[in-house]
């Protein structure tokens, strides 16, 4: 029997019961759509998180004061509180060849006031280097000027939301504002950036780091951002920074975090989540497979006499088996195609509703889900097909099983 004939015979019998065929195909399609949507949601989340990380600068090594135990009893508790200081920053800048830029960061919250309006903002003390490592741009005016980090003028660069809320349509450049009751001159406005990993760059005031430390009466920095020249230089940068700081502190009482490591752990969490979602969605595919089995069992018992006839006409077991198995695989194949179409359409709609998440079909998942549904068709179609093939021809011709 030729493959083309097997396919056309299977198609003819499926066409006979359009409703039954349609419902079974629908069940498979729903399963395929679910797998496709949930996995692409996982992939989109991963892409979103990656984008967020890259958006805040690349090849960064973050230096935090205090030692974070990452294992053992008391995991996650920061012990030791020796400050990381501006002197440490200077030492890193001069002695670590793999580090191209160093941005000290102090952080506090304060009210910013202008013309009777005020707003609570994060006040971030830093240097001109911060805008470079965080890839920030000025929408108006200028960013923090270079200079001695210990000194610095009473100047501030404000985020776009701060500008809108305090100044409205008024030009903020050169205006005097009060931050924690001290006078500052606005020298620039940041380009809108939005939230990045929970930190809102639009609700921010940047001030020189020396001013920031004095303002909040802080002796040490909140953190230091050191930028390596390239991804390959990150391990060398970590080594050098650790050596310099350990030497200066006489102890490793600080923590180094790379963006890369954070990204990796985020990605592995999202991958695990995606797999779990796919697993849940695959349950619906299994249910659809049982639907196929049911339909095929009904088909075999309805067509018992036909099987007997085919045997009388000289069909062997393999031919009967392949006819019924092909019907089952066709059902799941049509379901897979319909599910793909539905899934891709829903992704388009989702992309319109949530532009932040780029829902994109992954070729690997498409291949996996198509293979999975065809496999389910074959698996669940096998038992009814074998039942048909093993019918005794005499009994079958009389329409008895």
């Amino acid at each position: 029997m030729k493959t083309a004939d097997v396919l056309s015979l299977a198609r003819e019998s499926l066409r006979l019961h359009r409703l039954r065929t349609g419902l079974t195909v629908l069940a498979v399609a729903i399963g395929v759509t679910a797998v496709l949507l949930l996995t692409s949601l996982g992939e989109a989340t991963k892409a979103y998180v990656t984008h967020q990380f890259v958006g805040v600068g690349t090849n960064l090594v973050v230096i935090l004061p205090g030692r974070t135990e990452t294992f053992g009893v008391g995991a996650g508790i920061t012990t030791g509180i020796r400050d990381v200081t501006l002197d440490d920053c200077e030492a890193i800048r001069h002695r670590c060849s793999a580090v191209v830029d160093v941005a000290p960061v102090s952080l506090g919250s304060a009210a910013i006031e202008y013309g009777g309006r005020h707003r609570d903002v994060r006040v971030l003390g830093t240097t001109d280097a911060y805008a470079r490592v965080r890839v920030l741009h000025a929408a108006a005016g200028q960013l923090l000027p270079p200079g001695d980090p210990r000194r610095g003028d009473q100047v501030a660069v404000i985020g776009s939301t701060v500008r809108r809320e305090l100044f409205g349509a008024e030009n903020p450049l050169g205006k005097s504002v009060r931050i924690a009751r001290a006078r500052f001159t606005v020298i620039g406005v940041l380009e809108p950036r939005g939230q990045s990993l929970g930190f809102d760059f639009d609700e921010l005031a940047l001030v020189p780091v020396g001013v920031g430390l004095r303002m909040f009466n802080q002796s040490g920095l909140f953190r230091v951002m050191a930028q390596a020249a390239s991804a390959e230089d990150i391990p060398a940068a970590i080594r050098q920074v650790r050596a310099v700081l350990t030497e200066r502190h006489k102890d490793e009482d600080f923590t180094l975090i790379t963006q890369d490591a954070m990204l990796k752990s985020f990605r592995s969490v999202i991958d695990a989540m995606t797999l779990a979602l796919a697993g849940i969605a695959a349950i619906s595919l299994a249910v659809a497979g049982i639907g196929i089995m049911n339909v095929m069992l009904v088909a075999v018992s309805e067509r018992t006499a036909e099987v007997g006839l085919l045997k009388a006409l000289g069909a062997d077991r393999g031919q009967i088996l392949s006819l019924f198995l092909t019907e089952a695989i066709m059902l799941s194949g049509m379901g897979a195609l319909a599910g793909l179409a539905l899934g891709l359409a829903l992704m388009q709609v989702g992309g319109l509703l949530f532009p932040a998440l780029t829902l994109q079909p992954s070729v690997i998942w498409i291949a996996a889900v198509v293979a999975l549904s065809l496999g389910a068709g074959a698996l669940f179609g096998l038992s009814p097909a074998r039942r048909a093939a093993s019918l005794a021809s005499v009994e079958a011709l009389r329409g008895r099983r």
Binding site: L9, E12, A312, L313, A315, D316
Partner: protein
């Protein structure tokens, strides 16, 4: 070729189990059929004639005894080997026609050729000729429910003949037909016989049986002594 042995059964029994009781549907039957013979089997219901026809058609396997078809013992062959023999050597027609309802007349006739893996072009040709030979050339694209009983049986005959079988096994081919249509089918079978085909036909109708060159009567799984047809 006529007169040469086509098949031979020797001491064939077929025993069914129905619950705790044994039914001896065939009880030591021996039979020789020569090429070109037209054998009619008669007998009351349950006499074993349909079982005998099924054994001859390799649809049923004897419990004991031997079956030689064209000089080859076939009683021990595996199921798929039996299917192969059926496909190429045996044509069946049934009382209930057994056409596939969703398929056209032509598609029904084409089925044995499809199972044999023949090329589509050759298939079309053979189907066309087979339907022409039973006078249904113009009804090729009708489904069984658009055909009369007599026409359906003609389609079944075309299907049985399309592979060029050595023997035609007919199980009450006129049982569902009125007298006039039944006579047309018998005339068709006679024509096939006249063309040299070997035929074994089961019937209740003595009129139909009278067309055969040899009449065998069965009772309780055995032949009654031969009488003149």
């Amino acid at each position: 070729m006529n007169g040469e042995e086509l098949l031979r059964l020797e001491d064939v029994t077929r025993v069914y189990r129905v619950g705790d009781t044994e039914v001896r549907a065939l009880d030591g039957v021996s039979l020789q059929v020569r090429r070109g013979e037209f054998v009619a089997l008669m007998g009351p219901s349950g006499s074993g004639k349909s079982t005998l026809l099924n054994v001859l058609g390799l649809l049923d396997v004897p419990t004991s005894g031997s079956y030689i078809l064209e000089g080859r013992a076939v009683q021990g062959l595996a199921e798929d080997a039996l299917a192969h023999v059926r496909r190429h050597k045996i044509g069946f027609i049934f009382q209930a026609y057994h056409l596939v309802p969703r398929m056209t007349a032509a598609r029904n006739v084409e089925l044995p050729l499809i199972l044999a893996g023949e090329e589509p072009a050759a298939r079309r040709d053979k189907v066309h000729r087979a339907l022409d030979s039973v006078g249904l050339g113009g009804r090729a694209h009708h489904r069984p429910d658009q055909l009369s009983g007599g026409e359906r049986q003609r389609v079944a005959i075309a299907r049985a003949m399309v592979m060029g079988p050595q023997i035609l096994l007919a199980d009450e081919p006129t049982g569902n037909l009125d007298t006039r249509t039944g006579a047309e089918i018998v005339a068709l079978i006679r024509r096939l016989h006249a063309g040299g085909l070997t035929i074994v036909l089961v019937t209740h109708d003595a009129g139909v049986a009278s067309n055969a060159s040899r009449l065998l009567r069965m009772l309780d799984g055995r032949f009654l002594p031969d009488g003149p047809p």
